[in-house]
């Protein structure tokens, strides 16, 4: 029962956040200076044409009604129609999603695979020179702009070593492994930064845990350092790391926006940037809401995962 209450509480919180997001997304496009119809048609446009386009875009309706129309559309999966492509935004998203999803999943996989061993090593050998050197590398990894990293990676892996393609993206429909190969360099560009952030966090959490009393108790019972580390400390340290993983998923999503443009991947990020460049308001509005919705969903899933792993959450609250 307690679990159900927790679920309901998180769900309602997510719903309220989504409501706030819808308000923000919609009104951002209304209150900021600039008449969309005039901007689209340009400075020298015929005023009658601007008026006609305004009417067509539904801009002459009162603002509350426009908001409710838009929200109503959201519930039926209608995110608007792109001005440039004259195609429903949802359809464009559907076509672009596999690329972005693949990129996100691959980046997260690389992050997860690298983070645990490196963090554990750094926590165990906190004072050795190699650990300090690795920490310095982590710092640089966080500071490097991902799009510059991509350029460097292309230089090394595509041009010099010729291991990976840097050219056109091969769609999943054509070849699964071809698509994966096209996504490796982009995923690396994103995950090197996020891996560095998570490693730092996990290492500090592990070190904090290792100073706690229960570790002393376990050692005094005769458990080896390794046994304590893997059986107790790691599990306790992974808990807050799950929370940060939600944050990282969001970072990866944000990072993919720029990286997709670097590698010219036909994903959501590139769609968004082209929409911004074309002043395609409905497209940008729909995409922004979709992305925010994804983030809220990810955070909700992370909350669920957290509750599933840590029984204290279910019992205490």
């Amino acid at each position: 029962m307690r679990a159900a209450f927790y679920l309901l509480k998180k769900l309602s919180s997510a719903a309220v956040t989504l409501f706030a997001i819808s308000l923000l997304t919609f009104f951002a496009f209304q209150i900021l200076p600039g008449d969309p119809a005039a901007i689209i048609l340009g400075v020298d446009a015929d005023p009658l044409q601007v008026q006609a386009l305004s009417k067509q875009m539904g801009l002459d309706l009162p603002i509350q009604q426009r908001y409710f129309n838009w929200v109503g559309g959201l519930f039926s999966g209608n995110l608007g129609v792109s001005l440039r492509y004259q195609v429903p935004v949802m359809e464009l998203i559907r076509d672009a999603l596999p690329v972005t999803a693949g990129l996100t999943v691959l980046s997260l996989l690389i992050t997860v695979v690298l983070v645990v061993p490196v963090s554990v090593y750094l926590a165990k050998n906190n004072n050795k020179k190699l650990a300090t050197a690795l920490s310095a590398v982590m710092q640089v990894g966080i500071a490097v702009p991902s799009f510059w990293l991509s350029i460097l990676l292309i230089l090394v892996f595509s041009v010099a070593l010729r291991w990976l393609p840097s050219g056109d993206f091969i769609p999943f429909s054509q070849s699964f492994w071809g698509a994966v190969r096209s996504l490796v360099l982009p995923a690396l560009s994103i995950s090197i930064g996020t891996t560095a952030v998570v490693i730092r966090y996990l290492k500090n959490t592990l070190l904090d845990q290792m100073n706690m009393d229960y570790v002393r108790t376990a050692r005094s019972k005769g458990l080896t350092r390794n046994a304590v580390l893997y059986r107790h400390v790691l599990k306790n340290a992974l808990l807050p790391t799950v929370t940060i993983l939600g944050m990282i998923a969001v970072e990866v999503l944000g990072g993919s926006i720029i990286i997709e443009n670097v590698f010219n991947l036909p994903g959501i990020g590139r769609l968004l940037i082209s929409g911004v460049g074309n002043r395609d308001f409905p497209l940008v509005q729909g995409l922004v809401f979709y992305l925010a919705l994804t983030v809220v969903a990810i955070n909700f899933l992370v909350d669920l995962l957290y509750a599933a792993i840590d029984p204290r959450i279910r019992i205490d609250r």
Binding site: A143, P145, F147, I273, V276, L291
Partner: protein, 272 residues
């Protein structure tokens, strides 16, 4: 406290890195070796020489001069966005933390909603509607920074509000404003400074990204991100061009991150 800062390795390395960049910025106001936009196509893609210490780009423009001029925009955007984030974040966080109740709930929901927009999306929204320029970039990144400052400020106010010395001051009749400004705020400056430092780093990265996409600072104003974008086209023939702007961005972000980490180490009650 300054002494402890100087002894902290992170802080000092960060300070040195930033010191170099601030020096470049300061000099750039008085002296630029060449006109940043002066083209000289006969001298394009030169590697570093005494005449052009950082080489020239695809139009023969001196890279050092462009980099120096570009530092002005970077610092401007960084300061503006952190300034906006700090100011409004502090205001909202103070209101939420001190007043509590409904005000807190509403402000926190808005903050949650703002934080749900990944990366530079908020900035992109503002730029879609208002067009791209240095001013809009700074404003957009400022809005993106508000939630983080708001959370930190709120946490600080919530915690310190309950401390005895604040209650004592209140019982002597201090007004809420006086309490907030004179008693609570000075004791929570440290985490705000750390957030500001790290926030500056984030703003620099975001601005570089936006300029790289052509949506940030517009040409002919040189910007490090835009230079990276231009360099990418000539990657195979002249890889040197892409090297410098990336290094500088990394240096600035690293500097602010290390400075913030150092500050955090110095002011954290556990390690002090």
């Amino acid at each position: 406290m300054l002494k402890k800062c100087v002894q902290n390795k992170n802080f000092m390395i960060g300070a040195v890195l930033l010191g170099i960049l601030v020096l470049i910025l300061a000099v750039s106001f008085f002296y630029l070796p060449y006109d940043p936009n002066g083209m000289n196509t006969q001298q394009k893609f030169q590697l570093p020489t005494p005449a052009h210490p950082l080489g020239t780009d695809n139009f023969g423009r001196d890279i050092l001069s462009r980099v120096m001029k570009g530092s002005q925009s970077v610092f401007l955007v960084g300061f503006s966005s952190v300034g906006i984030g700090f100011l409004f974040g502090l205001l909202f966080g103070a209101a939420a933390g001190y007043l509590g109740g409904a005000v807190d709930e509403v402000l926190m929901r808005i903050t949650d909603a703002l934080m749900a927009f990944p990366g530079v999306i908020l900035a992109l929204v503002i730029i879609t509607v208002s067009g791209s320029s240095t001013l809009h970039t700074a404003a957009a990144l400022g809005v993106t920074a508000i939630p983080r400052f708001c959370r930190i400020a709120r946490a600080g106010f919530l915690q310190i509000k309950e401390m005895d010395y604040v209650k004592a001051a209140r019982s002597r009749g201090a007004s809420p404003l006086r309490l907030m400004a004179l008693h609570i705020l000075p004791n929570m400056v440290s985490p705000l400074l750390v957030t500001a430092s790290v926030g500056f780093a984030g703003a620099v990265l975001s601005e570089a990204g936006l300029s790289y996409l052509g949506l940030g600072i517009q040409p002919p104003e040189p910007s490090w991100g835009m230079m990276l974008f231009e360099a990418q086209a000539y990657l195979l023939s002249s890889p040197w061009y892409a090297f410098i702007p990336g290094c500088l961005i990394t240096m600035m972000v690293l500097g602010f991150n290390l400075l913030g980490d150092g500050l955090r180490d110095v002011t954290d009650a556990r390690t002090a």
